[in-house]
C-alpha cells in the first residue's frame, strides 16, 4: 500500500518539477527561436550567430534535464535511494 506523502515530500517533488519545467521551458523557447530563424524567409546572415546561440542553449538545457534526471529523479526510483526529505 502506498503511503501518503508528507508535506516535505510533496515540496521536494514540487521543487524537482519546478526545475524540470524551467529547463523544458528553455528547451521549448529555444526550439521556437531556432525554428523561426531557420524558416526560409528568416534566414539572413546575422541569424547564423543567433542560431548558434540557440543551439548552445538547447544543449545546455538538455544537459540540465539530464542532470535533474540522473541526480534527482532516478535515485528516488532506486530501492534504498535517497528519500525526497533527505537533505542535499
Amino acid at each position: 500500500m502506498l503511503a501518503i506523502p508528507s508535506a516535505n515530500q510533496r515540496e521536494a517533488v514540487r521543487r524537482i518539477a519546478h526545475d524540470l519545467n524551467g529547463e523544458l521551458n528553455n528547451l521549448a523557447l529555444n526550439v521556437e527561436l531556432l525554428v523561426q530563424t531557420s524558416a526560409p524567409e528568416g534566414g539572413a546572415g546575422q541569424d547564423a550567430a543567433s542560431r548558434a546561440r540557440y543551439v548552445a542553449n538547447l544543449r545546455r538545457a538538455i544537459r540540465a534535464i539530464q542532470d535533474i534526471l540522473e541526480q534527482q529523479i532516478l535515485p528516488l526510483a532506486q530501492p534504498g535511494g535517497p528519500h525526497p526529505e533527505d537533505p542535499g
Binding site: 519546478h18 523544458l24 521551458n25 521549448a28 523557447l29 524558416a39
Partner: protein
C-alpha cells in the same frame, strides 16, 4: 538583434507595445524576451520583484509576464502593486509558473491577472495571449481617441463644455478616475457636482458595480449612522432584521457622499476611522466588516471655513481632500452657455419628438443673465421656455428671466469675478469697477454686494445712481432706500 518578420499579424498590431518579462532564470528570461520581441513588442526584462517595480515605473509596459517564484517574493505581489489603482492605465499582467495548480491559477485571475501560462510554455498559446493583449490595447487606444474627439466637440462622458475651465476639469477627472484616490468635489449649487461624481465612477475600474449614493443632509442625524454602516437585528427598537448599510453595498464600488458638510460631527469620527482602516461595524454589532470603497464626496459649502468654525473635522477633510476638484460656475465658462443651450434643447426635442429652435434674440437674453443658479438654473429656464413655445423659443418666453443688473461698459471689467485695477487709475474709477463687478458677482443682490464691499446699502445705492447718471451702468432705476431707524 536582427528583426525576423515572424508573426506579422501580431507584429503590426502590437507595434510600439511594451512588454516586461520578470523571470529569475537567465536562460528562460533571455529566450522569452527574444520570442516576444519577434512578435513586434519592445521588451525589457527584470530578474527580481524589486527590479520589476523599478522597470514598471521607468519602462511603463502595457504587458507584464511575471514568474510566480522570484528570489525576493511571489510574482503575485507585483500584480497587487500594479492593479492597486495607483496606475491610471494599468498593464495586462500574465502570470507564468513552473508548477501549476488550479488554486494558484484561480488566485492569480482573481487578483486581476488577465491570463495564466504554465511552463514549459506552449508557444502557440503564448502567441494567442500576445495577440489578445494587442487587441485589448488597440481597443483602449481607440477609446482614448474617441474620448479625445468628443472632448474637442465639448463632450466628456455625460458632461458638456468646451471652455478652458471645463477642459481643465475634464483633464482632472480623466486623471483621477482610474485611481482609488478619494475625491472631494466643490462648487456652487447647480454646477453639476453629482454629474462629476458619476463621471469619476463611470471612468473608474469600479464601474461594473453601480455607484451607491447618500445625501448626508437629507437624512436625520439619528438615522444616518444606520444608513451608512447598517445595523444588527435587535440593535434598536424596530430593528427586526439585519440591515446592510451604504458602505457594505458600495463594497468594490464608489460611495457618493452628497452634502458631506451636513454630516453630524460624531459620525465624522466614525467615517474617518473607516477611511483609515477600511473596516467598520454595524450599529449594535462588534464584528469588524472589511470593505473596499472609494469615496467621492461633495460639498457646496466652504469646508475650510466649516473646519475653522468647528463644524467639520480637519482630519476628515484632509482624508477626503486627496484629490479636490473645483467646479467653475457657469459665468466663468466662456462660450459654454451656447453649447449647453443647444445640448438641453436637443434633449428636450428628442424627448418631445419636436424640433423647436431658439431665436437669436432669446440666446442674447440668456447670455446677458448672470446665472447664479448655474447650469441647473439654465436647464430649468429652458424647460419652461420650451413648454411655453411652439416652434421658436423667443425672448418673450424668457420674460421671467431676471435681467442682469449690469451690462459692463467698461473694458476693465473682465469677468464677473475679476477686475483689473491699474496703478495710477483714479480712485473713483477703481471704486466703480469694484462696485459693479461685485454687484455682478452676486447677481444684482444689492444688500449682499454692500455687505461684501463693507459699505452701507445707502452708499451703494448712491454710487449706483451716480454711475447711472454718467452712463456707466444700465441697471434698473435706483431709488434711495430709506435708512433704518436709528435705535438709541
Amino acid at each position: 538583434m536582427m528583426f525576423v518578420p515572424m508573426g506579422k499579424a501580431a507584429e503590426s498590431q502590437a507595434a510600439q507595445l511594451r512588454a516586461l518579462v520578470v523571470e529569475d532564470d537567465p536562460g528562460s528570461r533571455d529566450a522569452l524576451v527574444e520570442v516576444i520581441e519577434r512578435e513586434g513588442f519592445q521588451v525589457a526584462a527584470a530578474s527580481t520583484l524589486a527590479e520589476a517595480r523599478d522597470r514598471m515605473a521607468s519602462f511603463q509596459p502595457e504587458l507584464v509576464l511575471v514568474d510566480l517564484q522570484l528570489p525576493d517574493g511571489n510574482g503575485l505581489e507585483l500584480l497587487e502593486r500594479t492593479l492597486d489603482g495607483s496606475h491610471a492605465d494599468p498593464p495586462d499582467v500574465i502570470v507564468v509558473t513552473g508548477h501549476s495548480s488550479v488554486e494558484t491559477a484561480v488566485d492569480a485571475l482573481r487578483r486581476g491577472a488577465v491570463d495564466y501560462l504554465v511552463k514549459p510554455l506552449d508557444i502557440a498559446r503564448l502567441r494567442t495571449v500576445l495577440l489578445q493583449t494587442s487587441g485589448r490595447q488597440r481597443f483602449r487606444s481607440k477609446i482614448r481617441q474617441l474620448r479625445g474627439r468628443l472632448r474637442q466637440l465639448g463632450r466628456f462622458g455625460p458632461m458638456v463644455g468646451a471652455s478652458s475651465a471645463m477642459q481643465q476639469l475634464f483633464d482632472q477627472i480623466a486623471r483621477v478616475a482610474p485611481t482609488n484616490a478619494s475625491v472631494l468635489i466643490l462648487g456652487e449649487s447647480g454646477t453639476g457636482k453629482e454629474l462629476v461624481a458619476e463621471t469619476v465612477h463611470e471612468l473608474s475600474q469600479r464601474s461594473a458595480k453601480p455607484m451607491v449614493s447618500i445625501n448626508c443632509g437629507a437624512i436625520s442625524a439619528n438615522l444616518i449612522e444606520s444608513e451608512l454602516f447598517g445595523h444588527e437585528r435587535g440593535s434598536f427598537t424596530g430593528a427586526d432584521r439585519i440591515h446592510r448599510g451604504h458602505f457594505e453595498r458600495a463594497d468594490g464600488s464608489t460611495l457618493f457622499l452628497d452634502e458631506i458638510s451636513e454630516m453630524p460631527h460624531e459620525l465624522q469620527v466614525k467615517l474617518l476611522r473607516v477611511l483609515e482602516s477600511g473596516t467598520f461595524s454595524r450599529v449594535g454589532g462588534d464584528r469588524p466588516i472589511q470593505v473596499d470603497v472609494r469615496i467621492v464626496a461633495v460639498s457646496n459649502r466652504d469646508l475650510d471655513l466649516a473646519v475653522t468654525e468647528g463644524k467639520f473635522r480637519a482630519d476628515l477633510l484632509y482624508r477626503l481632500k486627496v484629490f479636490p476638484i473645483s467646479l467653475p460656475p457657469l459665468r466663468e465658462r466662456d462660450g459654454d452657455l451656447t453649447l449647453l443651450t443647444e445640448h438641453f434643447l436637443a434633449e428636450m426635442n428628442r424627448a418631445d419628438d419636436s424640433n423647436k429652435r431658439l431665436a437669436p434674440a432669446a440666446l442674447d437674453l440668456l447670455r446677458s443673465h448672470g446665472w447664479p443658479g448655474n447650469v441647473r438654473e439654465l436647464k430649468h429656464v429652458l424647460q419652461r421656455a420650451f413648454i411655453l413655445s411652439d416652434s421658436e423659443i423667443g425672448p418673450d418666453s424668457l420674460a421671467d428671466l431676471p435681467q442682469r443688473p449690469l451690462r459692463e461698459k467698461s473694458a476693465e471689467v473682465t469677468s464677473a469675478r475679476s477686475v483689473t485695477v491699474e496703478p495710477g487709475m483714479p480712485l473713483a474709477h477703481a471704486e466703480r469697477l469694484l462696485v459693479l463687478a461685485t454687484l455682478d458677482r452676486v447677481a444684482g443682490d444689492k444688500t449682499k454686494a454692500a455687505e461684501m464691499l463693507g459699505i452701507s446699502t445707502k452708499t451703494l445705492y448712491s454710487r449706483l445712481r451716480e454711475y447711472q447718471a454718467s452712463g456707466d451702468w444700465e441697471g434698473p432705476p435706483v431709488k434711495a432706500k430709506a435708512p433704518p431707524e436709528r435705535i438709541r
